[in-house]
């Protein structure tokens, strides 16, 4: 049975007339454009016509956008795969076994995973370009790249939003987990393949929406969109709310799909005790996503209505702090959504690279789970500057305590490293660097959890540097580690070890030089969201910018290297690292079932002692 047709089985093209349709992506764009035009016109010219209104108003843009996204989803294939069968029509959807499958609705988890990987990488580069423009502006204390501070702030907002919702939240979950979680579970499909196919296509829609927000006007709030400022700018923020809605829905669907995959699609013998660490990590973040993403979606819908109806819920006559609280209620779990899969991957990669039994595995699992549980208790540490004194101590307490379960990830990896036979490869290097970076991020986090220190460092470049240490320093570095680690599985080819190490050292040095200095510039009085700043900070900012450019080039170097080796690298065997998790025992080719028959798991995946067989769970015929 084809893995592709999971749930809707049957491969039989012989006696069917093939229907000809335009390439799905083109058709999606077309339907999106038509949807927007029709509904925008309907609202702004007919239903809600006001004198002197422009052709696109806040209300009409919202309705038109909804129509456009629906048109886009239907166009790329939801029409044939979901809507028509839902009303009882037969499914007619041809998925060619070539590059075209990446540009259409697909139910194969490997295709979906790769689609996510491409889309996230693209958005990382675009949002990174925005960061380069910001750093360019900050080279000089005066305005010189942007024509006005509002344009700079809009860029900051776009950068932050896309990085958070399309890179941070998605890269390791929508991308690598969609591809590898079913493989690690020894399954040929994810739990709800059609939903999974839909989820990816929401992501480019969301990214495009956020990048197009300047068409509606500037927005100066940054990615947190604090009210009441959000209500005062021109209308660009409408597309922020809508774009985030699309991107977060995508993440929500992925979370539901992967949770069910981990629970229901495990191969025979893959008991909870044997669940791979990455599985635990993804399970933890998925639960966080399922709870907190709907929370922020509702908050943003209320904010959007507040803006377009308009209401005054979060203005002076309402309650500005309520927005802030609702935002951070989600905002803090969000950072664990980003970093927990990275922790899990350290614990996945190091035992393989060290050929060493995983140390204190149960503490690692405990750590991931407790970080998840605690993450709902610490959110208000983003609000020390505007809360009542009595609220400070509990939030400070939980914030400091969360470093305990976080530390367990270090305990596990360091224990595994001790006495290992470490292969000093590029993924190893990236994991070690990622651990160093997160250490810095964590130490500065302890400082920030102290209210008295927080009152000085909040809203300065100190905080900016702290969270970039956690998102770039640890999550992006781990993302690259995973890319190098799994490249042989993704492409059947190996990267070049020298170039890989060069890339790692390059981004490590550039990253630490740029963001390390930001702590100090923050302490010296550099606050956030400023395109113009006092002259005395210029030297330091100039130096930061130089290293930031170097960092940008370093990322580019790594991506080019990976892409190149994806196509031209030296072919390698099934299992070049001698890993024991199940993905190393199948031949994952998109469009083809990975395991036939399904593997049967007999031992855990992390035992490298002498008396266990070299591969613990050779896929056995049942």
């Amino acid at each position: 049975m084809s893995a592709n047709a999971a749930g809707l089985s049957g491969v039989d093209t012989a006696n069917r007339q093939r229907r000809r349709i335009a390439p799905p992506v083109i058709r999606g764009l077309l339907w999106a454009a038509i949807g927007f035009l029709v509904f925008n016109t309907l609202v702004s010219q007919v239903i809600d016509r006001q004198p002197y209104d422009p052709f696109v108003t806040r209300v009409s843009a919202t309705v038109g956008w909804a129509a456009a996204v629906i048109g886009w989803l239907l166009g790329v294939g939801a029409w044939e795969v979901i809507v028509r069968p839902f009303f009882g029509h037969p499914v007619e959807w041809d998925i060619p076994n070539d590059w075209r499958r990446y540009f259409m609705f697909s139910t194969d988890h490997k295709v979906v995973g790769l689609q996510y990987i491409f889309t996230t990488t693209g958005s990382f580069l675009l949002a990174g370009l925005a960061a380069m423009m910001m750093r360019m502006e900050l080279m000089n204390a005066k305005l010189w790249v942007f024509t006005n501070p509002g344009a700079y702030l809009t860029t900051v907002g776009i950068h932050g939003t896309v990085m958070m919702f399309s890179v941070g939240t998605v890269a390791l979950v929508g991308g690598f987990a969609n591809y590898f979680i079913p493989l690690m579970m020894g399954s040929n499909s994810s739990a709800y393949p059609r939903m999974s196919g839909l989820s990816h296509w929401l992501l480019p829609a969301g990214i495009a929406t956020v990048f197009l927000s300047p068409l509606l006007g500037q927005w100066t709030t940054g990615w947190r969109a604090y009210a009441p400022l959000s209500g005062q700018d021109p209308s660009g923020i409408v597309f922020y709310y809508l774009g985030v809605f699309a991107m977060t829905t995508s993440s929500l669907l992925v979370a539901i799909n992967l949770t069910a995959t981990i629970i229901f699609n495990r191969a025979p013998g893959l008991t909870w005790n044997r669940l791979p660490m990455f599985g635990w990590g993804i399970l933890a973040v998925s639960l966080l996503t399922i709870i907190w993403v709907p929370e922020i979606q509702m908050t943003f819908i209320i904010s959007l209505l507040n803006l377009i109806v308009p209401f005054s819920l979060f203005e002076q006559t309402g309650s500005p702090l309520t927005y802030m609280e609702s935002f951070w209620l989600f905002g803090h779990p969000e950072v664990y959504i980003i970093v927990v899969p990275a922790f899990a991957l350290w614990q996945e990669i190091i035992p393989v690279m060290g050929q060493k039994t995983l140390f204190a595995r149960q503490w690692g699992v405990l750590g991931l789970v407790f970080v998840m549980l605690f993450s709902g208790l610490v959110w208000a540490h983003h609000m020390f500057t505007n809360m009542r004194n009595s609220e400070m101590l509990p939030f400070s307490f939980f914030t400091e305590m969360i470093s305990i379960p976080t530390g367990f990830s270090y305990l596990v990896v360091l224990g595994t490293l001790w006495g290992a036979r470490l292969k000093f490869s590029t993924p190893t290097l990236f994991v070690l660097m990622s651990m160093f970076n997160f250490l810095i991020g964590g130490i500065t986090g302890v400082l920030l959890a102290d209210p008295v220190i927080n009152l000085q460092t909040h809203d300065t470049f100190f905080v900016l540097s702290h969270f970039h240490y956690t998102v770039i320093g640890s999550m992006v570095f781990t993302w690259l580690a995973a890319a190098y680690y799994w490249l042989p599985k993704l492409s059947g080819r190996m990267y070049n070890e020298t170039l890989g190490k060069l890339g790692a050292i390059w981004v490590f040095i550039a990253f630490n030089s740029a963001f390390g200095q930001m702590f100090f510039v923050g302490l010296r009085g550099m606050n956030r969201w400023v395109a113009v700043y006092p002259q005395y900070l210029q030297n330091m900012n100039f130096s930061i910018s130089m290293f930031a450019f170097l960092l940008g080039l370093g990322f580019l170097f790594n991506f080019v290297h990976i892409t190149w080796m994806w196509n031209k690298g030296k072919p390698v065997g099934q299992n070049p690292w001698n890993g024991k998790t199940l993905e190393w025992f199948g031949t994952p080719k998109p469009g083809i079932a990975t395991f036939s028959p399904l593997p049967h798991v007999e031992t855990g995946f992390y035992d490298y002692s002498e008396n266990t067989p070299p591969t613990p769970s050779p896929p056995k015929r049942m």
Partner: protein, 193 residues
């Protein structure tokens, strides 16, 4: 392996779900309910932060209140009887019961939408804002429930749903009942507490 992976006409003859798949689908539905309950919690929370216990005098308790609550709650019953009828493979009966649920849902929807347009209290008071948003949210989920029921109704008509493949009916029950119960809770805390 042919060069195309294709869903064919035959693919819609979905076989009966295995016990595991059934559990998997139910699990997915419960995740849907858990995640979509969160917005309701947020709405209730914001209502108390912004408006306290205040309820305007001009509020019509029937429209956008008792009528949709009763209609939606009662609408759950014919769906269960429809499932029972499906066990006997009595398709016409299943259809008529699903239709009854849809009609009740429609009544609920209309009575939610009506006060959304014509409300005789100040929309720009903290309570008014939250009340209107709540009505909008409830209408949205009611529409979703109606669409799900409608699809099942059409599929029943085409003979695609049978005793062994009754998941569609159960899915409708999940979505429909979730909406009814969530709205009832919202109505209760918003207008009655």
């Amino acid at each position: 392996m042919s060069s195309h992976n294709t869903y064919t006409k035959t693919s819609l003859r979905i076989g009966p779900l295995s016990e595991r798949d059934l559990r998997k689908n139910r699990f997915g539905m419960s995740l849907y309910c858990i995640s979509q309950a969160v917005p309701y919690f947020l709405l209730i929370n914001i209502r108390f932060v912004i408006a306290g216990n205040f309820v305007p005098v001009g509020l019509n308790l029937w429209l956008g209140g008792i009528i949709p609550t009763v209609a939606l709650l009662v609408g759950i019953i014919p769906l269960f009887t429809a499932r029972a009828a499906l066990q006997k493979d009595d398709i016409p009966r299943v259809r008529s019961h699903v239709m009854t649920a849809m009609l009740l849902g429609l009544i609920g929807l209309l009575s939610l939408l009506f006060p959304l347009w014509f409300h005789n209290f100040d929309a720009l008071s903290p309570f008014g804002e939250i009340d209107l948003i709540s009505l909008g949210v409830a209408s949205f989920y009611t529409i979703i429930a109606l669409i799900v029921a409608w699809g099942v109704y059409l599929r029943l008509g085409k003979g695609l749903i049978r005793k062994e493949t009754g998941w569609g009916i159960e899915a409708t029950i999940w979505v429909y009942a979730f909406n009814a119960i969530a709205w009832t809770a919202l109505f209760f805390t918003l207008d009655l507490l």
